[in-house]
Subunit: 347 residues, 2 copies
Amino acid sequence: MHFNIIDVAEKAGVSIATVSRVINGSDKVRTETRELVMAVVEKLQYVPNPSARGLILKRTEAIGLLLPDLHGEFFSEIIRGADNAVQSQGYHLIVSSSHNDPKEIEAALRFMRGRVDALIVMSPRVDSEILLANLPKSLPVVLLNCRTSNPHFDTIMTDGFGGAKEMTNYLLDLGHKQIAVITGSQSNIESQERLRGYRTAFTIRGMVPNKSIEFEGNFTQMSGYESVKEIFKLKNIPTAIFAFNDSMAIGAIKAIREEGYKIPSDISVCGFDDTPMAKYISPSLTSVHVPIPELGEMAIKRVFDRLQKRTKGAAAHIFVPTSLSIRNSCKKIMDVDISKREEVFNK
Amino acid sequence: MHFNIIDVAEKAGVSIATVSRVINGSDKVRTETRELVMAVVEKLQYVPNPSARGLILKRTEAIGLLLPDLHGEFFSEIIRGADNAVQSQGYHLIVSSSHNDPKEIEAALRFMRGRVDALIVMSPRVDSEILLANLPKSLPVVLLNCRTSNPHFDTIMTDGFGGAKEMTNYLLDLGHKQIAVITGSQSNIESQERLRGYRTAFTIRGMVPNKSIEFEGNFTQMSGYESVKEIFKLKNIPTAIFAFNDSMAIGAIKAIREEGYKIPSDISVCGFDDTPMAKYISPSLTSVHVPIPELGEMAIKRVFDRLQKRTKGAAAHIFVPTSLSIRNSCKKIMDVDISKREEVFNK
DNA sequence: GGAAATAATGTAAACGTTTACATTTCTGGT
DNA sequence: ACCAGAAATGTAAACGTTTACATTATTTCC
């Protein structure tokens, strides 16, 4: 039961061209007629049909945001940052999430084609390289934390390597030597980067990271919890646990306490991402700070730059630095403590 | 640089009608020609233009989801449930969030018009009644936790009243009498419902709720934290604190500990929503369980029923019950304890 | 007052589909 | 071999806009 431009034109006694001009604000149309038309528009509650508009204009005023399965606060913070940024430009966000395997992403991508003016893709799986290869090159695309050898796309990457290295260094400086990690899924490139950073921190000091205390999680609280249960089967309990996101750190903390250990006095724990939650749990969580909403915001900004041709030329590769948010979940190790549990795993 | 149906038709040596028929799977077209066409489609990577399609078909295969500002895990869980449900039907979700004031919602609504086949609206502000009144009645709309006197729309409401009442009862049964609440924004109808439930639990027992220990938060961790700081300025510290969502409960816990009190032995704390986080923090949080992803799922199901005309007739008003997830953050009050702090505020 | 310039408005094509209806091509029965 | 009927394919209108270009109305200037 919607009116179209013809209805408006008839009721106002003008041509559809005039109505169109009024609607689009542009051009010179007599104030008198403009007001007349606007009155009719108002009365009829006329809203231009976006399909018809999109068909001829070839733009939709929407930006597509492709996310993997969303757990925890991370992705909603991304959405928040992105949505705020698009709205300031009168654009809108089309979010498609909850797909991890390339097949689903492809379906989502097909859906997006023609419905959005630009695309922000977050596909952290290693095997999505192929997929990323044949992303539509007809629209601006920004890759968020994706690995690709294709230099054609703008990318934004957080420094997972540097962040993990810094955190590991921090723990080493506190005197920890047996630092277990709980990683994300093996096929997740962010997790890979963080693992690389973790290991590098050791090797830089001439130590060798102990691969037997690297546990694979999947970024959920439960996987953090379960990994710790595994950790406690070890002969020598590590003195610190580095979870590769905050959710797993929280799961880890629960498990550690169930085993009767205190944090940080018995075991230090830290996370990654520094989600809003981190500073509120107890002990407040030491974490690698990632500017999450800003990530979404930056991606949107980039996309608008492309859209408005402010930025032409080669793809940009933005590297977002991380920092340490040091709180109360990690503690300098007591020599006494170590002696009870230390194992000679480094020279 | 995209091909259209005409390109495909030409390359395949058939008419566009035939191509269309092949694309849409329907109708009788010779297997031979079908394969021929499909081959061309494949080669040209042809994807039908959704605008053109939407224009003539008047459907978009997208469902709009309108959310308020998203904080914490609640809304991302809603999205998760909804997205999973739409994907199983080959549909997609257009999420628009981060707007609280009616003006913004209206803009989002205008944007949605013509872009979606149905709408799910979550607008928990009291003053959005007007807005809800002139929601498009040309499409199926499901209202999620919205108050409206308009019986025209399908609604899904969680039983905030019942949940809060039950939780308050539980606390009263544990012997608590001074139960502070930290509410959401005053203008939030869910918060109002919960408050009503809280008060009712008292009055049912012939007690009168102490309004001076009702604190207004805004569903963020920080507001929970700050409310507790206020609470500790009181002469008589309540023995229990009931936060109207889990995020605020977490903020509250932090503040309580900073004041040197233990949970639950000194003060009991409970939340609302039972987000995934709740069972992992420590002490694990007693909370009113709300089936969050299921809420999104139900809304989508309802919308599809309408879309496929399986459900005609009057609007349905679904009432989603809540339940108590009892964990370790609340404790039976010791008589000794109360005596130290009790105030005669009920008969 | 009237030509020239300018401003306002109108006309019609185009965007890329779907589908009712028209046409062509097959099939099988005589 | 031919025809009826069925099956496959094609033609063209329709969906609701925008906009180049054409037309008409208004102003400006002598």
